[in-house]
């Protein structure tokens, strides 16, 4: 087998967090005893290979270490442990613009940047006109870049990076900037590079993009690899984790200031308890909660998960201002129609504050119900439809 273009082997990265971080010698002297240092592992034992010519996506929640990993692959940061071996010239597009010096002209910056990316002066001469044309900056190329707009900055940065003949291209969500026309141009260019057999690693939140253009993916979770390999597997895991986090129920300590005292699934009329429902039929979920002490503006949430844990849907009392809650409440969620596929599902009920940072109580995937009946064909959902045919 050919050598991978990017080989990440057991990479860990530690950052030192300085509490009341001293930024001057005086402060350091004054705070010598008090300055506490805390280790924070942004990456822990991350390992994967990207074969030459493939496009891989890095996904994960904010703060999961994606950008740090990209910077280590790009050689901008060095790992604390492990190593990354790359084969081919690397061009990295991180955040806004590349490394430009504001006092220099666009032309001088192109040469400076290209030399840093590993191009000789002659090679840069060859690509120069193309770069300027791609960035659409013919009139401004001899002006100092400090007078450039942010859009011009990005365009020039992108233009340099994709024209230096990179073997490996690293992209950190830069495709989300610039006007739409330029964005289209960038994506087109990325696809071209893909076709030419360049290796691409990119960080994104847009799972759809991963689906469309990636050959493989890695999902990071708190600095560790949670899932990697097949795009479909990674995206499934990512969606699941994001859904959990989205409900904010992942790992918080429950305050028990409010508790769920009862929860029940009732039929479409809201009279008889039931745990079986026809596809497309309605259902009530009644929840009773008790405040053990007065709680300001709580939100009661209801979510549906598939039996395998995949998130399906959620709702909550977020639209209502419940104000200060004392004593007991009964909440009735009237789901007029459940357009679900056959199968087993689970309700999750939770009480939390508006930011979802404080969770008072949580019954995670505790109330099962079954959707049974005959669902036509391979439909994933049931959509009420009125079909009409007119003869013209």
């Amino acid at each position: 087998m050919a050598e991978p273009a990017v080989s990440v082997a057991h990479v860990s990265k530690r950052f030192r967090l300085y509490h009341e971080r001293p930024s001057s010698v005086k402060e350091r002297l004054l705070r010598l005893r008090r300055s506490r240092v805390e280790d924070f592992w942004a990456l822990r034992d991350v390992a994967f290979d990207v074969p030459e010519g493939q496009t891989w996506g890095l996904v994960g929640a904010n703060g999961s270490g994606k950008t740090t990993l990209l910077k280590i692959i790009g050689g901008i940061l060095r790992p604390t442990e492990g190593r990354v071996v790359t084969r081919g010239r690397i061009a990295a597009l991180l955040e806004l613009g590349a490394g430009f010096h504001p006092e220099l002209s666009g032309r001088e910056n192109v040469y400076l940047n290209a030399s840093i990316l590993g191009l000789s002066r002659r090679e840069t001469d060859r690509h120069f006109d193309e770069i300027v044309a791609f960035a659409e900056l013919e009139e401004f190329i001899d002006g100092q870049v400090k007078y450039y707009s942010s859009g011009m900055f990005v365009r020039l940065g992108f233009a340099v990076a994709v024209h230096v003949d990179p073997g490996i291209l690293l992209i950190d969500e830069v495709l989300a900037v610039g006007d739409e026309a330029f964005q289209r141009k960038c994506i087109q260019r990325v696809r071209e590079l893909q076709r030419e057999g360049r290796t691409i690693v990119f960080v994104t939140h847009a799972v759809q993009q991963v689906h469309q253009i990636c050959d493989g993916a890695v999902m990071l979770d708190h600095g560790r690899v949670r899932e990697m390999g097949e795009v479909a597997d990674v995206i499934r895991e990512y969606r699941l984790v994001m859904a959990r986090q989205h409900i904010g129920f992942a790992r918080q300590q429950l305050t028990r200031d409010m508790e769920i005292t009862a929860a029940e699934t009732l039929d479409a009329d809201g009279r008889r308890p039931t745990s079986v429902v026809q596809p497309g039929a309605g259902m009530h979920v009644q929840v009773e909660v008790r405040a053990n002490r007065p709680v300001d503006d709580p939100v009661i949430s209801l979510a549906i998960f598939e039996a395998n844990g995949e998130f399906v849907w959620r709702t909550g009392t977020g639209d209502m201002q419940l104000g200060r809650v004392e004593g007991k409440l009964r909440i009735d969620f009237n789901m007029i129609s459940l357009p679900l596929q056959e199968g087993r599902y689970l309700f999750t009920v939770g009480i939390h504050d508006r930011s979802e940072r404080i969770v008072h109580d949580l019954h995670d995937q505790r109330y099962p119900f079954d959707v049974t009946g005959t669902l036509e064909d391979d439909n994933r959902v049931v959509i009420p439809v009125g079909t009409k045919v007119d003869r013209l």
Partner: protein, 292 residues
């Protein structure tokens, strides 16, 4: 792209000087570009450009020539040449050292955005100042030629070694302060203050005979612990020492061995220091992108 692929390994920072030096050599174009950038930025939006760096010593020469020839006849013969043969290398040292100190934090967007050997930043600052030094040096040469002073003599052989040692010493200090300055921003100010005091502790505007006369032999020995004093004295021996027998009397020793030995010692110490500060710089540079 199968034959000629660029293989790069990124791993925890542990300096292997030889391999790293090879890598720096591969990236020499960056060094040249960065130092060109430094000069260009400095004289951006100026009409005269680099000429400014030459006007500085020209003015010094004219003023000192007039003042110390007509107003206050100096005890030091041929004072303008004495002054410049010490002042120019000192300027290279002080601007190079101070420039290197702020080079990493002044690197703009480069450090957090693109991968390149960060050592090129302080080295580029020093390189830029060396270019500046050569221009200024031309002024001194021109002056000496115009006034018919001998340029080449036995002492001239010291010129090149003195420059090498000076650059080694500047790089050793600048590399360390550049790295510190990323976390402790007052390193830069500290360096500026230190340079001010250091200037007066180095024989540039006064001859060493003053020191020997006023501090005694022990004092003079202590005075010579200052590495810069030894380097500057070698420059003076190389440039000023040949202008006349009286000029030679102003310097601590007439022979060349005295200077050669001192350059050797300072040079060796600087090389060791450079290795240490390079290692420190290298270890810290793995996190520069995050700390800026």
């Amino acid at each position: 792209m199968s034959d000629d692929v660029l293989v790069r390994t990124n791993e925890p920072p542990r300096l292997r000087p030889v391999a790293r030096f090879r890598e720096l050599w591969r990236h020499r174009e960056i060094l040249a570009n960065l130092s060109r950038k430094e000069l260009r930025v400095k004289y951006k939006s100026t009409f005269l450009g680099v000429t400014w760096s030459m006007l500085n010593p020209v003015l010094y020469l004219v003023v000192f020539y007039v003042v110390f020839t007509y107003f206050i006849p100096a005890r030091t013969p041929n004072f303008p040449v004495y002054l410049l043969s010490g002042l120019l290398p000192w300027a290279l040292f002080s601007t190079g050292f101070a420039g290197a100190t702020v080079s990493v934090i002044g690197g703009g967007n480069l450090v957090p955005k693109v991968a390149f050997p960060h050592e090129t930043l302080p080295l580029a600052s020093i390189r830029a100042q060396t270019v500046n030094f050569f221009f200024q040096f031309l002024v001194l040469i021109a002056f000496m030629l115009v006034f018919g002073q001998p340029l080449l003599h036995r002492g001239t052989v010291l010129l090149f070694p003195a420059l090498v040692v000076l650059l080694l010493f500047t790089a050793a200090l600048g590399m360390a302060t550049a790295a510190w300055n990323v976390r402790y921003r007052d390193t830069g100010y500290l360096v500026e203050l230190a340079l001010l005091a250091w200037f007066w502790a180095t024989p540039i505007v006064y001859p060493t005979s003053f020191v020997a006369d006023n501090l005694g032999l022990t004092g003079f020995r202590l005075y010579l612990l200052n590495p810069m004093a030894n380097i500057i004295l070698s420059f003076q021996r190389a440039l000023y020492g040949g202008t006349s027998p009286q000029a030679l009397d102003q310097l601590p020793a007439p022979g060349l061995t005295w200077y050669a030995v001192r350059l050797l010692v300072v040079g060796a110490a600087s090389a060791v220091l450079l290795l240490l500060s390079w290692r420190m710089f290298f270890r810290r540079s793995g996190d520069f992108a995050e700390e800026l």
